[in-house]
Amino acid sequence: MHIAAADEARPLRTTYLICAAAWALPGAGHLWLGRSQKGLVFLMTLPLMFACGLWLEGRLFPFELTQPLVALAAFADIGIGVPYFVAKAMSQGAGRAIAPTFEYGNAFLIVAGLLNILVVLDAFDVAQGRK
């Protein structure tokens, strides 16, 4: 399978657009940059991990700045991009604290968002010709 070598640096405006796409739809940045194998893996894996978190009755935390840990979890949740808003629109992610899998669900949701942020940073590096 062809893996692209380090590309030339793209203009900063384009790089930011790529990062926005990578955040909104996991893997979109790598697909845009021609790294289709990586992009497809992220596109399949991260939304699936997020969906598993919802299925395990995890909670999409609210932005409560008075509770710093809750706010940090909310920032991590939103790292997954559009799937977060889709879940919110479908009234998913209320969480059920007495469910045996509640904490696992939270871990899936939070880590899916954080992993997507790492994917965005990787797309930034690729777009800047660093990888």
Binding site: F42, T45, M49, C52, L56
Partner: protein
């Protein structure tokens, strides 16, 4: 799914797939790193579980 081990294995699978894809470019290297990460996460989780088992809290 209410199995703690099952949830941990699925979690380890997702994390190792994403990290291996992110950190390596060649598919063969991705597979090797992914397997090592997966084994480390699952094995480490089981070992930590046994070490913590005697604790009363």
């Amino acid at each position: 799914m209410t199995s703690h081990l099952g949830a941990m294995v699925v979690f380890a699978l997702f994390v190792s797939v994403v990290f291996a894809t992110l950190m390596r470019d060649e598919p063969r290297e991705q597979l090797r790193l992914g397997l090592r990460l997966f084994g480390g996460l699952v094995g480490g989780g089981i070992v930590a579980g046994w070490l913590l088992y005697p604790l009363p809290f």
